[in-house]
Amino acid sequence: MVTTIRHYFSVAACFARLAVQRQLEYPLFLFSWLLMIPIQYFSGIWMLKIIVDRFQPLNGWDFPELAFLYGLGLLSHGMLVVFFINTWQIDNMVIQGTFDRLLLRPMSVFFQLVASYVNFIGLIDCIPGLIIFLYGCQLVGFEWTLGNIIKLLLVLIGGVLIRASLFISLGTIAFWTKRNASMVGFTLSMLERGTMYPLGIYPYVLQVIFTFIIPIGFISFYPAAEFLGKGSESFQLPLNFALATPAVGLACFMLSQWIFRRGMRSYESAGS
């Protein structure tokens, strides 16, 4: 057992080193991401500030609270981009035939899929996330007690798992259809709008969907509502969010693993 884990760790480390070296090959490429990602997200929060300043708090969320929510959502997005970005290109791997390579090695296929590309550039997504989140914490007067920090970590892990499960399940579609390419963009924008704005601004139907069917409300909205002591008007949750988000995350992740294994059974190589 221990030797297996150690083996997996050394393989992951080796993959990570290769991935980082590959990404540092083109410095201007890195630089353009370094410009683009912060512009995108800082302007996003700035737009919210402009709207709140000119109008009124959105569904009872004022700017500090919105910044907290936005930052929390963005942080888990950033972590997803670092660790799970390979799930976005399962269809590509299927078509190119590179997925076959993973099947030939004596290791967990899912582990190889995820570990073979640690997206070092994704850390750039975490930077605006961290800045906006800390700024939001400052504005709302978040208390950095040990309990809160543990809760926060649990929520982040749960959030990343929920996001990852979505992309894994979507990617699995490629095993049957060989393509799902632009679904990634679609899901990304759904996640962005669903996690960075308060869920309460959407109609009731969408709130139900985002709570029970595609549970992205648990990524940031419900945790943020509880951290900030805002009663969400829509649903009363039976569990404390610090348990709910990781629990939902784990459940989704298990489900996505099951779907992934089912998909692999019907996988047939693209040939050529």
Partner: protein, 265 residues
Amino acid sequence: MLQAYWYITKMRLLTNLAYRFEVFASVGTNLILMLASVFLWKAAYGGDTGQVQALTLQDLTSYTILSIMLASVFVCDVQDTIYYKIREGQIVTDFYRPIPLLACYLADDIGSMLSSMINKVIPLFVFAALLFGVPWPASPLGFLLFIPSCLLSYAILWLLSALVGLIAFWVMELGNMGMVKDSIVRVLSGSIVPLWFFPESIQTISKFLPFQYTYQTPLGIYIGNIGVREALTAMGIQLIWVVFLYLLLAAGWRRSKSKTLIQGG
């Protein structure tokens, strides 16, 4: 001569119409953006029927819907085309063509625009009309002015895109500079939040930049926030930007040819 361009446009149109799956996803993505923005405005007004900066919720709903439809029509692939052709070295065969290269790329993008109108804008319009009601223009005259203003907007966007593409002749590896430009345009053009809501100082600076004349001007004309006389002035400014950017591009293009370096081969 024109026949050659029309052929390029037609081929692009037909190619794009052949990819259905991508279209579904693109319409879906834009629909989500549209829904999210409209509900955001609804929450901002909070059931209030009053006006903010002389705009009602209905105005902003139309503004948002039209803005997203315009964004799917305004295809400016030229920056990626130039970059890709230089990286792959194909630019050299393109230079053999007996017609101006940039005009070919424009014809290509116009083909994409036509296909987007058919398979992206129509479904988006239908969904928007079903969900939020038909976003009528403020007046027939407004609509008549909206069309030429859109054409000028597209000219500005396309020229900006081509200028970014030109950088690739110098640096070889352009990376995502095109996307950097796009995200600046998205904010400063007022395509998400109209600049009328921005702080005064930003509005003043923005008057001297080309961006607000790409989305805010035609959309403002459409919803009637820009009157007829102001609309004509704004279109005059659009035209000035088109001429200026065109001259810049022409100058850059002449110099870039001598800079062309073919990788490998």
